[in-house]
Amino acid sequence: MGITRGFTGRDRKGADERLPPGQYDTGSSWPVLTAELMPRIDLSTWELAIGGLVEQPTSWSWDELHALPASSYNGDIHCVTTWSKFDTNFGGVSLDTLLEVARPKSEATHIVATATTGYTTNLPIDDVLGGKSWIVWEFDGKPLAQEHGGPVRMLVPHLYFWKSTKWITRVDFLDHDEPGFWERNGYHDRGDPWLEQRYQGDA
């Protein structure tokens, strides 16, 4: 498309190659995007359940989750509202660790992640298996703040951040794709920031 008259944009000298197209570096800030009010979560009753097409539907309490081998993510995150944040550090447990117990069935192709608020998002299993996704409760070594999905959220950092469900409580395996909350509301089913898959209709 044509250039915008008079627009030069931010200084891009030494632009960071970690920045996907159409994104900007938000630096030390961390904007918030949610569609609902923040829930109050009682960790004494909260649990994470994995179900659907798995051999062993399983639930973990807060304490049980913390007893599992810790795993962390160090790297970048990208929000569809165009900010990216570099060098983040999240701590929790790899989803792979939970799936060693739950064992997805061979016919499973997608997951739906569900928050305590009822928010959902859909993901192909290839985007969550093999060291690509986490259940996290720490940011920079401190408890994850409520507005950022604390006490516990999913983390799928290679996709736009709405795929990283805040206040996670369920992961269900399906044999088909089932659009989640933002996906039904006009956003892309996969959400790869490097391909700019922001909205429905993007390649």
Partner: protein, 235 residues
């Protein structure tokens, strides 16, 4: 969420600026003629994308202020200091300029006009409610819509005259307004407006949204009936 899917713009199009107005040094109102326009529903937004000569782009989302029936699409942009897109729109954009647009976007923060609703907006968070108000007045269902519009001062409140004229509660926090003493929105003034409302729409900064959520809970609107649109420092 069993409603009919709301249409969304599935590809980029262009909009030509037909009218532009700078009501204050922090606000710019732009009215676009949109090519291949998909009709919007009140509450939806557009993405505006700026493109530099080297193909660098910057894009931001802005709520629609206009009635779906309006031949032009109107946005009202608040200028954020050190921003990249909003200062450009305020300082450089002119009538006749062409912009890349994508929209309408969003199916969640959309008013279902058969649901009596209360809207609570902070600062430029009132913009989607202006679209709802214009639409409701045109089709004669404005009794189903209550609006609370909050800002530090009247000058910081977009569409203050229009909102006030058509019955919105104007809640200024840093200056008195008629006989209302400067104060944050307080529960009693919201309770009357929330009476009969089955849903709430809240739009504003992150801090404003959580404050409004508490006020609405006091007024008897449960969390699960609150739809939220937040904006942060994206500029």
């Amino acid at each position: 969420m069993s409603e009919q899917p709301v249409p969304v713009g599935r590809s980029w199009t262009t909009g030509i600026v037909r009218e532009i107005e700078r009501p204050t040094d922090r606000l710019v109102k732009i009215r676009f003629e949109v090519a291949d326009r998909t009709p919007h529903r009140p509450g939806q937004h557009y993405v505006v994308r700026l493109r530099a000569p080297d193909d660098y782009t910057a894009q931001r989302s802005y709520s629609i202020a206009s009635d779906p029936d309006d031949p032009l699409v109107e946005i009202m942009v608040e200028v954020l200091p050190r921003g990249e897109v909003s200062p450009f729109l305020h300082e450089i954009a002119e009538v006749g300029d062409e912009f890349e647009l994508r929209g309408p976007i969003g199916r969640w923060f959309v008013w279902n006009d058969d649901v009596p609703s209360i809207c609570v907006g902070g600062g430029s968070g009132v913009v989607p409610f202006v679209s709802m108000l214009r639409y409701a007045r045109r089709v004669g269902i404005d009794p189903r819509l209550s609006i609370v519009a909050s800002a530090q001062t009247r000058e910081r409140l977009p569409y203050a005259d229009e909102l006030e004229k058509y019955g919105a509660l104007i809640a200024l926090t840093r200056e008195n307004h008629h006989d209302r003493v400067a104060a944050h929105i307080y529960p009693d003034e919201v309770k009357a407006l929330a009476f009969g409302a089955q849903r709430a729409y809240v739009c504003g900064s992150v801090g404003f949204v959580s404050f409004a959520g508490r006020i609405l809970a006091d007024a008897g609107i449960s969390e699960s009936n609150v739809r939220v649109e937040q904006f942060g420092p994206s500029a």
